[in-house]
Amino acid sequence: MQKSKARFWLFLLPALFFFCLFVLIPTLMGFFYAFTDWNGISDSVRFIGWRNFGVIFKDPIFLHSFGFTALFSLCAVVLVNLVGFLLALLVTQKFPGATALRGIFFMPNLIGGLLLGFTWQFIFTSIFSAIGQATGQQFLQGWLSSPETGFGGLLILTVWQLSGYMMIIYIAQLQQIPDSIQEAARMDGANSRQLLVHITLPLMMPAFTIGLFMTISNCFKMFDQNLALTDGGPYRSTEMLALNIYNSAFGENHFGLAQAKAIIFLIVVAAIGITQLVVTKKKEVEM
């Protein structure tokens, strides 16, 4: 007993050490700075109580950013998972080239967010407008120059990037569903649609739990794609929360304020994530 306890700590310590160093201590320090007026440079750090939090809720740009992020996340989560699931269904069918397609759909994930952002910026502003000019389609002109096209652009980029990853998760789960269950259902006269709704989907719930969780947190925390594609423009209308926090900290030199925003951000993302976990967990069925 004594020995196993020592071993327990021995194995835990290295991870615990790094966890404290890089996660726990910075977080606690972050909580401290949220109550100060530190500008990120000077040595003077003044404690100002809850004032930062008061400022945040009166800041129209932060509130807009919050709304934008929420709306974006909602749309992106639905679309990414839908597309991911459909892709998974597609590539698990038996047809030539299905395995190659898996690789191709997954590939956007291997490209960094900044690079993706700049590439898509070029596609939206130059290629879209060239196609628009050639075909006379007015809606292809001036992408990323208005809040709506900025939103659309971010959405397209995100769906394109993340759905391949979700596809992999869904493929793994699809392959775990035993053929015997499907065959049994078919014997009982279920058609393809019924098979999907009553057999496949319920058995996919564990994968949806993970997939939804990952997309929700990824979309809320999106930073590099946002920075590279629109940088919040035009007129800060597509500035998502992470970018807004970054701008307060590094642009406006309000580190304390940015830290307070980050705490609110953490609480919101955590609350949404946990709620989703609890809800979808309940829907999971045992095989």
């Binding site: 890089f22 996660v23 910075p26 977080t27 320090m29 972050g30 909580f31 700075y33 530190w38 500008n39 990120g40 440079i41 000077s42 040595d43 750090v45 400022v55 939206f124 502003t125 130059s126 002109q141 001036g142 992408w143 990323l144 120059s145 208005s146 564990p206 739990t209 993970i210 969780f213 947190s217 925390k221 423009g233 035009p234 007129y235 800060r236 992470a242 926090i245 970054y246 701008n247 900290a249 590094f250 642009g251 406006e252 030199n253 580190f255 940015a258 830290q259 980050a262 705490i263 951000f265 953490l266 993302v269 955590a270 994530g273 946990i274 976990l277 967990k281």
Partner: protein, 457 residues
Amino acid sequence: MKSKKVLAAMLAGAVCAVSMVGCSGNGKTTTASVAQNQASAASGGAATSKNVSIRMFQFKVEAKDAFQKVIDAYQKEHPNVKINMETVGGGSDYNAGLKTKMQSDPPVIFNLGGPQDVQDYKSKLEDLSDQSWVSHLPTESLTDVKDGSKVLGMPFDLEGYGFVINRKMFEDAGVSYDSMLTFDGMKKGFDTLKQKIASGAMKSKYPHLEAVMEYPAKETWVVGDHDVNPILAQDFKSATDAFQAKELPFKAADTYKKIIDFQASYTTNANSKGTLNSVDYNKALEGGLAIGRVAAIEQGNWIAPAVTAVDANLLQDLDLLPYPVPGYSDGTWPVGVPEYWAVNKDANADQKAAAKDFLNFMYQSDEGKKIIINDAKFAVAFDNYGDLKPGDPLNKRVMQAVQDKKAMAGWVYSGAPTTWTQKVAGANVQKYLSGEETWDQVVKNCKDQWKSMRASS
């Protein structure tokens, strides 16, 4: 079990969101090293023969190779000094980088923007007023980097802007450079070219030419910083003046609108101005002026290297028109010092001595001067460069403007509240272009935000 794992992963991930502040300020110097600093200051601060290693953190990507050349030359003469240069480009990226660097691993030599930076970094800035180069500079080039009688930074270069035109295109359209030195003259010239483009008269010689101008409204440093500066210059004499102003008079605001409308009206998007909000610097420069798609853009002497990279012969065809502010000042160029070199006060005495000696070498030794003019392609404010003069028409025009006293303060905007020029003025101009806001709202927002940002900082 699975949910626990997910929970742990989530906590780890979400925590990253709050851990943006990594390290606390530990820039306090110990008493011992302060004493040492004072001792060396008393001894004159000359370069020593001890081995010294210096880190230099600078922002001018375009001049990186030139600076390295100076460093190599300096190290050859002073084998005991090792200088490591790190370059991080672009205005805001540099500032973010410097801020984190200062907390973790402070450089000895770094760059400062305007009065706001001086204020923010005051406790880390070495007094340079005893340096010999100070006497070779006009006083106004140091106004914004002074604290009382202390000189806290060394001017980087002189940059000036206005309307960069393809002189040859205008001449082929029958418009001379000299006829466009005022707003009215410029309007006439631009109209003439616009007509000739529309009628197809320019087609045979310039097949790519599709509009007189491009206006990259996506870049808030163009619609904000640059376009608002000549307007602010009517209210304030220097960045320091602007920095001290609690409120913004904005008396030339109507001209701000005039010049924005002017630029937008000569682009291909003259009828859908909102679209300009997605036009960026590259499209205006490399994909615009440099390939002959447009004949003019609002820019400055710093575009010379980028133009050369696309078309080396084109640079000699370009010229720089003044930035007109009709009704206030016409025929002048905004010229100023965009950045300064600073030496870190908290570095040890040997490092500081070597850093000062190096900066002096860079801008004052014969070898350094040559590299600064010929390789870095800088225009400088120093009065002792003799026959060394910049070779391209844009830099020549900037130097000429200074000599003829036809320069207006070019970096007044750096005295505006932090981010006001881009996130307020620039963003509101974008709203105006897209039709989201009327001009009166733009003016009101600019004034209100100036006041509230001053009050909260």
